[in-house]
Symmetry: C2
Subunit: 458 residues, 2 copies
């Protein structure tokens, strides 16, 4: 079954590429409301393609935004797992258009790379799953596991309707695990699997002092200045070691296992890489953790913005009436984002010692997610990468969040494997591209993955 | 001599008012460059008036901005002091014009008050000195002391050319003391004399961290966030008592004498007044000083602005590349504003512990000023107020700065008596006004002052 599928895929490389080019020609930019017909054209194209390949129950679900596209093939039987594939068919805007070397919606190949908007993020990457399925269905007439596939059309504008859709369709989407190809690997010869992501609690503090801005000469020295108060508060969020001082903040942090620590130590991201990217010399933060652990598996607390008073050019002797800050915390297993919001608010309110009114509110919260390293999905993905890329993947932890992963974890109770095939690829920038060989290797990796998943389970 | 002058002034009340109205009709708004002809018209009007009254050596000095007007009467002899009178003939803009109940440049009297732009600030107040001089010269043919008088035309836009003019004309302007009527007294029945003003050192701190804004998920926890760094720095400028922590900041502060402390205690400004003005309940700051001392005779350090990262609506997970703050310090005798700038910069640079580039620069410095309570000028002014207002003046210390006072102190080596006759008067606002009886009492007070000055000296 595996070899037949791989053979079919290899024999159809050019046709797969031609089909992908068709999808790439649709300018499905979700940010522009006047592109709605293009969004629906892309959704329809994918639905037709799913039907053609042999998926059942193919549906285009209207939503407040672009439609969701769904299809399934569930005839592998009860003994094998069900995989939910997620992808998105919307793309970023193309400005500045003059920096593109070719038309973003007329894909072309140069230096072994396909150049087109959305080719890496995420049309080309997610299309590998359709071509892998086709390779099985056109040869063996069946898939090694049950597959459900879901495309959304507004990932680039914040997946505004995804949570609701998943919540309302938990039965339709029920699966044992999810897989998403919408990320990068470390290098062409170094596959990698993101096995954990951090969660987020994003807060805002607003302080009000005197009823209006005061003259700093006439009132300075007698008023607890809100701009000073916000500095006092923000300064008190960390100790000298960079450890977060919010009481209870670390209480639920799951200790890092030795396995995780050694797995993470293999990530070939060096201090020199960090230096090149940040332009800085010395990393900062918790001395008892490596700089890589600090940005991946440790919870953090960062000021995203601070303001108060006069910040234009020149000088104004004002004692500001108001000041504030935006502070977000990256969370790790098993911190509860809502509970962290409460701990933050309680602490910050106590810090505002003088006569200032303080308002603390939550902008958003999002759960961390983790695919246990010992899970059958991670094992299968690891073997699949190794089979195709001739190198063991390394396991990485991402500092940021991918909301859909947390949504699947929360609403469907399933882990997600982030099976990326991209590199840097200029995503969100001019000249977005995707290596042709990674498109093909992606299809092969998915083919292997589905087979190994079936074996692992058995 | 005194009684003749007073009699003359009283007999000419209506004419004095009519003349003031002429000056008020000239829209000498220094902020508008197209008002240059009006500025020169006002300057010429004052020069003509000085000549008419009997001043000698009357000159209109051109400058980069509006002209300076000068006149002198130096025939009182060597045995009596020379007084330098300063006033300004420029006025604030009038917007929002629709909030005026009468044309700002067509003065009219309602409820015992003259309504017109500039009537209190400073045409009406400074004109009292001309009318006092006229009252002497038209009766006794002489003044009790030597008088020099200087008007500038750009006080409302920062006296951009005053320092240079004074510096270049120290001989012309040489005097034993200065007097300025451009301030308010505490109440109609409570005259007051501002005997000291604070100086100023205004600094700006700019921090640079990573070479560009970073994603707080990918780099948070490993970078000394400039927005946190500025909070750390600002928070470290005071201790919990509100005492400034800059090493050496208080070293040169002249201890408050018992006389000053008891004199200041008589100022009828209560905590309830402060509460009404600020909208706050609890004052903040150095517990060993009264709230009034904190805003008047104690040096302070206030954040005028703080910034860094994202401050618009919503949430952005940015780790900002830059942050900064504007901080100004109010200074008291005998602090040196330049030295304080250096102490501040040294301290702040040491506070920036992590990997951030720090730039600290001085926006401006200005000297404090003080008229010793025991000086003959303060004694004469005190007697003059008491004679006219039937109440002893209280002595107040201003938290803010009046640059011209510091300029006279520095360039001419003389103290200034701030002999105000205004009340709140809506200066800088619609419906600026000045009480008619304060215009007349002002003239009487100046007449007394010049006589008492001559006596004190003798």
């Amino acid at each position: 079954m595996l070899n037949e599928a791989l053979g079919y895929a290899h024999n159809n490389h050019q046709r797969f590429l031609d089909e992908l080019f068709e999808l790439l020609r649709i300018p499905s930019i979700s940010a522009f409301s006047d592109h709605e017909p293009e969004m629906e054209r892309a959704a329809g194209w994918l639905a037709d393609e799913l039907k053609r390949i042999g998926f059942d129950n193919v549906q285009v679900f209207p939503s407040e935004g672009p439609s969701f596209v769904y299809g399934e093939w569930l005839k592998a039987g009860d003994g094998v797992p069900t995989v939910l594939v997620y992808g998105h068919y919307d793309v970023q805007p193309v400005d500045p258009i003059e920096e593109w070397d070719s038309d973003p919606f007329k894909p072309e190949i140069r230096d072994g790379k396909i150049f087109a908007r959305g080719v890496s993020d995420d049309k080309g990457q997610s299309y590998t799953h359709l071509k892998a399925a086709e390779s099985f269905l056109s040869t063996s007439g069946q898939l090694p596991v049950n597959v459900k596939i879901l495309f959304e059309g507004e990932e680039e504008i914040g997946s505004l309707n995804l949570d609701k859709f998943v919540e309302e369709n938990t039965e339709l989407l029920a699966a044992d695990s999810a897989v998403i190809s919408d990320s990068r690997i470390l290098a062409p010869d170094q596959p990698s699997i993101v096995y954990r992501l951090r969660g987020l609690t994003y807060m805002e503090i607003n302080l009000k002092g005197p009823r209006r801005d005061l003259h700093s000469g006439s009132y300075g020295g007698s008023v607890y200045n809100p701009a000073q108060a916000i500095a006092d508060i923000v300064a008190a969020l960390h100790d000298d070691n960079g450890t977060v001082t919010i009481p209870g903040f670390y209480d639920k942090v799951r200790p890092l296992t030795d396995r995780e620590r050694s797995v993470l130590a293999k990530v070939p991201y060096t201090l020199d890489d960090w230096r090149k990217e940040t332009g800085l010399d010395k990393p900062w933060g918790e001395k008892e953790y490596t700089f890589l652990e600090r940005v991946t598996i440790r919870p953090t607390c960062e000021v995203n913005g601070i303001w108060g008073g006069f910040s234009d050019e020149g000088a104004k002797t004002v004692l500001p009436a108001e000041a504030g800050a935006k502070v977000s915390m990256r969370l790790v297993p098993d911190q509860d984002p809502e509970e962290i919001a409460d701990l933050f608010a309680d602490y910050v309110k106590k810090l505002a010692g003088g006569d200032v009114k303080i308002d603390v509110f939550t902008h958003s919260t999002g759960w961390w997610s983790i695919s246990p390293l010992e899970s059958p999905e991670i094992a299968a993905a690891s073997r699949a990468y190794e089979a195709v890329f001739d190198n063991e993947p390394v396991f990485t932890a991402e500092g940021g969040s991918i909301p859909v992963v947390a949504t699947f974890q929360k609403e469907l109770g399933i882990p997600t494997v982030l099976m990326g095939f991209g590199l840097e690829d200029n995503i969100h920038s001019p000249n977005e591209n995707f290596r042709v060989d990674h498109f093909y290797k992606g299809i092969d990796t998915v083919i292997h993955y589905l087979c190994f998943l079936a074996e692992n389970e058995a």
